[in-house]
Amino acid sequence: MTPSLKKGVAYALACSAIAGIGLAATNPYHLQVMTFIGINSLLALGLNLLMGYAGQISLGHAAFYGIGAYTTAILTATYGLSPWLSLPMAVAAAALVAFLVGMPTLKLSGYYLGMGTLGFGMIAFIVFREWDGVTGGASGFVGIPPLAVGPLNLSSGRNYFYLVWGVLLVAILVCRRIIDSRTGRALRAIHDSENAARAVGVGTMHLKLQVFVFSAAVAALAGFLYAHYVSFISPGTFDFLMSVRMVTMVVIGGMASIWGAILGASLLTLLPEWLHAFSDLEMVVYGLIMMGVMIVMPQGLTRGILDLYERARERHER
């Protein structure tokens, strides 16, 4: 099988798996968890393009998630705009902010870029929390309307699950195409050697800014989906810990791997659900599992599982 055929088959399998899961799942709780996995996967996917492929860290990406959520909340609930009109505005708002923030910060690299984006994330969080009149402040924003297409109400568990995963599949396709293009190669080149990339004529600053804006737009899209799903948002969802969680999803799943983003998002969404039983020790067990994964599979889950599979097959053949 050629690599592109393999990718096509994997994609078709993923589509049918999602369709199947959607039909089979009857428990509303299960559908809800899987919807959150979809939203988190979208977040990880966008950030992975920036981190895994272009090699630029952002510790403030929850801000863009929040900008997407708050923009649509304000436009639809406060000003009565249709969500389908607020969607492009929410995405554009995050993209614009990313452009303005990225211009100065992306000149930094490594730890300094991390600190720069961290600072931005904190400022955004404070704005969400303190701008009472507009965002509802610390007590949150209530009454975000559900999504509907004509007579079809998307707020039911199954419909929203399909919506989120449909959006995710399209986003995967888009990311795949970007990675396999001239732009994607240039991004990976920046990751390997920014100096050499510049020397062959890649406009590294421009390209880093583009991918930063793109990943912010994807995060805002996830924020839009989140806000209209839960109908109530509060600043705590978009704080520093969320930014860290997003980075963790990318690293745990496997950098520079599209399916890894989904694996990482699944693990980070499911773990807290499973670990409720540990009550007080929940965070400790959570931390231990994270450490364990990174020690056993330093390249992330995707690479780790592939290696296990290869080893098992070799043993089988012997």
Partner: protein
């Protein structure tokens, strides 16, 4: 008076790092079609000169022009577009990427596809991608790595990495190719083949500027040689003139 400007012309170029005068009032020019040698003891300023020509450093004073067009202070990507490309003294490949992808990135300034066209994949972009891949494969054939296209470039033996870096530099269709110590780390057989390759590159119509410590190679392939020492131009001439130049010998014996 000549009717055509020199391919590359430097006029009183100087560059200092703190107290170190890495380049001190350098002036020279040469025409297209040559293999130009650039030699000098360690720390003479050879790599710095390359960095100034390619736009990685802006000179403190002086002017650099390519085909009569001033290039000092321009962006690197514009200079690559005008026709200058380079290799590095310490090979700098895109190691996680495949051999052919390295060359495809090398052609970045001659291709156009951007963010949006990558997503929409319009026919023009598919055609560009196909032509790009074919051109990259031609360059692999040219440097003798035809059957390594899909290998991870970081896994190639060192000698092949040097060849790949040259192929990547050729991918932007340069008028002037700057090679920074391409024979460093190669064995005698590989060095011999490199000499042939440099000749073939010149025969393609690409002017080559070669920094090299391997004197046998330099003397045999170069048409003209410039000697730098502690940032100053010490001599310029034919290989045999340089070999019999007393000041050059003193610089090498004194510092080497």
């Amino acid at each position: 008076m000549k009717d055509k400007p020199a391919l590359l012309k430097l006029a009183s170029v100087s560059k200092a790092f703190g107290g170190v005068q890495a380049l001190d009032d350098i002036s020279f020019e040469f025409d297209a079609g040559l293999i130009m040698g650039l030699i000098g003891p360690n720390g003479a300023g050879k790599t710095t000169l390359f960095n100034v020509i390619t736009g990685a450093y802006v000179p403190d004073s002086g002017a650099v022009s390519l085909d009569g067009i001033p290039i000092q202070g321009r962006r690197i990507q514009d200079i690559v577009h005008l026709g200058i490309s380079r290799t590095f003294q310490n090979v700098e490949l895109f190691e996680s990427m495949s051999v052919i992808e390295n060359i495809m990135v090398g052609r970045h300034v001659r291709t156009r596809s951007g963010f949006w066209s990558a997503i929409t994949r319009v026919p023009a972009i598919r055609r560009e991608e196909k032509a790009l891949r074919e051109r990259a494969q031609e360059l692999l054939d040219f440097v003798g790595l035809a059957d390594q296209a899909d290998r991870r470039s970081g896994d190639l033996p060192f000698g092949w990495q040097r060849l790949l870096e040259i192929a990547r530099a050729l991918a932007s269709d340069p008028k002037l190719l700057l090679l920074d110590e391409p024979a460093a780390g190669l064995n005698a057989v590989e060095t011999g083949r490199l000499g042939e390759l440099i000749g073939n590159i010149r025969d393609l119509g690409v002017t080559v500027m070669l920094v090299e410590h391997d004197m046998a190679l330099t003397m045999s392939v170069c048409d003209q040689i410039i000697v730098l020492d502690q940032g100053c131009m010490l001599a310029e001439g034919l290989p045999r003139e340089i070999q019999s130049n007393a000041a050059v010998m003193a610089a090498y014996l004194g510092n080497g």
